[in-house]
């Protein structure tokens, strides 16, 4: 018996760092298992911080940082966490990283930090972070957990930037604060709907629509 177990262990060790399975951990959340458009998690911040590209970019980066490191550390600790108090332990770990991001932004990107206001702090309650810890990091090894966090953070950031792209372009005629339409000589009247959270909701809806028709999604009846 022990021989068989060792064999299995040998095989697992032989798995390359970027095996097909591990690459899937990154690529799935980008499309077919996207945290926002498929799992419909983290919507509140996606609506709140996407009026412009710059805050959306920082928010995406912050969340990426938090998911990667909380996933990694929870995975490292997973065998020592008593399951009864696991949520509070997860929260403690997440809050550590959130506070670090918060302080970093405050120190080096104060304007953006002010624009993001409570939403950096609210990463701690972001469903994506907690969801990945519960669903993945608690039952997987550190390396796949790190990749999973990376994939989900990127999937979140991708949608965030996509939404912010359309909202800033259509709402203010700009990208990263650069007036695109004025630069090419078109007088552009900003679309006020895009600056409202309702506009973000509509854009997320359109992204889901496009994604589903590309993937051939059918509602289960």
């Amino acid at each position: 018996m022990s021989e068989v177990a060792e064999l299995v262990k040998e095989e697992k060790k032989a798995e390359p760092l970027f095996s097909k399975k591990n690459r899937k951990l990154i690529s799935n959340p980008l499309d077919s298992d996207n945290p926002i458009t498929v799992q419909v998690l983290g919507i509140c911040s996606a609506l709140a911080v996407t009026t412009q590209m710059v805050p959306a970019l920082f928010m995406a980066g912050s969340l990426l940082f938090v998911t990667v490191f909380s996933n990694l550390f929870i995975s490292l600790m997973r065998n020592t966490i008593p399951s009864r108090i696991r949520i509070i332990v997860q929260l403690a770990v997440v809050s550590l990283w959130v506070i670090m991001v918060d302080q970093l932004l405050k120190a080096y990107a104060y304007d953006v930090w002010k624009q993001l206001s409570v939403f950096v702090g609210l990463i701690i309650t972001n469903c994506i972070v907690m969801g990945r810890l519960e669903a993945f990091a608690m039952g997987n090894k550190p390396w796949p957990s790190l990749l999973d966090g990376l994939g989900n953070g990127l999937g979140y950031g991708l949608i965030l930037l996509l939404v912010a792209f359309f909202r800033e372009l259509l709402g203010g005629g700009a990208l990263f604060g650069f007036k695109v339409f004025e630069a090419i000589g078109i007088k552009y009247q900003g679309n006020g709907l895009m600056l409202l959270p309702a506009g973000a909701c509509i854009i997320v809806g359109i992204i889901i629509w496009v994604q589903r028709s590309l993937n051939g999604y059918r509602e289960a009846h």
Binding site: Q189, L193, M194, L196, A198, I206
Partner: protein
């Protein structure tokens, strides 16, 4: 005719199965059935239905009911235009100005809307249906005469794609499509569809001295601040610039006031309502519910002691100012988005009326409430139906003896 028929027949094989333009069959079919009566008939032994109210006839009835509003609206656009400029003009001149301002909006609305319908029909492989006929006419009637045409196009595209096609096409929409277009403009480009934009004035400096383009709703809302009696404000309005009595009750009822193209005349809306109710196309319960709900809510506000000037306005004024009548007759009765049960229609209509007055009086951000009230109740319509049906079930179960 012969030539058209022949050229259609000549082109037909390209669009049929195996032809090189097979993809566009439904666009071709729509064009063909638009030009000629379709030759597909029931076989000799099948059921022969001779006269049924089909979708096309239903839609045409609504369009006919809108014609009085449209014609009056065209005249009124010109009428308001010459009033603001302080010029006297003949009936024909006024109508001509209205025609010049209205027809482009109608053309853009139909062009964009039908274009999108065609594209989706081809993509989804279903025949082009008549779903857009009424919407295409409703959209121009709820726009100010001066609206930029590109905004009409964008709003129409938004409403048809997001309001209708995203939900599955004609008959599947949750909220009224024409109102979706208007709500889109209202939130996207508020400066072009609120405030004093209702009268067509080519050059802003050319107006007669003392001119004010405030609508009755704006006058009533501003009375909250000035604490003046709303009715006397209405009666005095316009006296300074030679438009005496423009907001008297009879004039408000007839519709010689600034506003969206088709919404101003309560009388014309009532004629439309008569056509809809007599032909059985529109539900009289909903129309009566909206008017009744608004009137009763107005009365309730009158009774509150110490209410502001807008609350003190006689309740019947609520029925003739703004777009309440137009919304009640043509928007609330939309069979797709309204409640389906007969009892539910009462609740639906009354709540629209009540909400309209509440939004008008208590929300300074939105001078007119009918649009938001109808959109809100569109969303609640299935819930109302659900309660009506389950109440009915409960009642019948109690009666049942098993």
């Amino acid at each position: 005719m012969e030539f058209l028929r022949k050229s259609l027949d000549k082109a037909k094989h390209n669009f049929e199965k195996g032809g090189k333009l097979e993809k566009y069959y439904y666009a071709f079919e729509a064009l063909e059935t638009f030009l000629f009566a379709p030759n597909t008939t029931t076989g000799k032994k099948g059921a022969q239905i001779r006269d049924a109210v089909d979708l096309k006839r239903l839609m045409m009835t609504v369009i006919i009911a809108m014609v009085p509003c449209l014609l009056f609206g065209m005249w009124n656009v010109g009428h308001q235009h010459f009033l603001a400029l302080g010029q006297a003009a003949s009936f024909a001149d006024k109508f001509w100005i209205g025609l010049l301002k209205t027809v482009p909006i109608i053309v853009v609305s139909y062009g964009v809307g039908l274009g999108i319908e065609f594209v989706f029909a081809i993509l989804r492989k279903h025949p082009v249906n008549e779903g857009y006929l009424v919407t295409g006419m409703l959209i121009p009637l709820i726009m100010p005469a001066d609206i930029p045409l590109w905004q009409v196009a964008v709003a129409t595209a938004f409403a048809v794609i997001i309001g209708k096609e995203a939900f599955g096409g004609t008959g599947m929409n949750v909220v009224n499509i024409a109102l979706t277009a208007r709500a889109f403009l209202y939130f996207a480009y508020p400066t072009d569809i609120s405030g004093e934009v209702w009268t067509y004035i080519p050059d802003k400096t050319a107006v007669v001295a003392g001119y004010s383009g405030a609508t009755p709703l704006a006058v009533a809302a501003s009375a909250i601040e000035t604490k003046a009696n709303v009715v006397s404000q209405f009666n005095q309005f316009g006296a300074t610039w030679g438009a005496e009595g423009i907001y008297s009750f009879s004039s408000l009822f007839l519709g010689t006031q600034p506003g969206c193209i088709g919404e101003t005349s309560t009388l014309m809306c009532l004629i439309g309502a008569f056509i809809l109710v007599v032909t059985g196309v529109g539900s009289w319960r909903i129309i009566a519910g909206v008017f009744g709900g608004a009137y009763v809510m107005g009365l309730v506000l009158n009774l509150i002691p110490g209410g502001n000037a807008f609350m003190q306005m006689p309740a019947y004024y609520h029925l003739v100012i703004g777009g309440l009548a137009f919304g009640a007759v043509f928007m609330a009765t939309d069979p797709v988005t309204a409640t389906q049960t007969e009892t539910g229609k009462w609740f639906y209509g009354i709540l629209i009326g009540v909400l309209t007055v509440l939004i008008r009086v208590f929300n300074p951000a939105y001078p007119e409430g009918i649009m938001l009230a109808i959109l809100l109740m569109n969303v609640f319509a299935p819930l109302i139906d659900y309660f009506v049906v389950s109440a009915n079930k409960k009642r019948r179960l109690q009666r049942a003896t098993v």
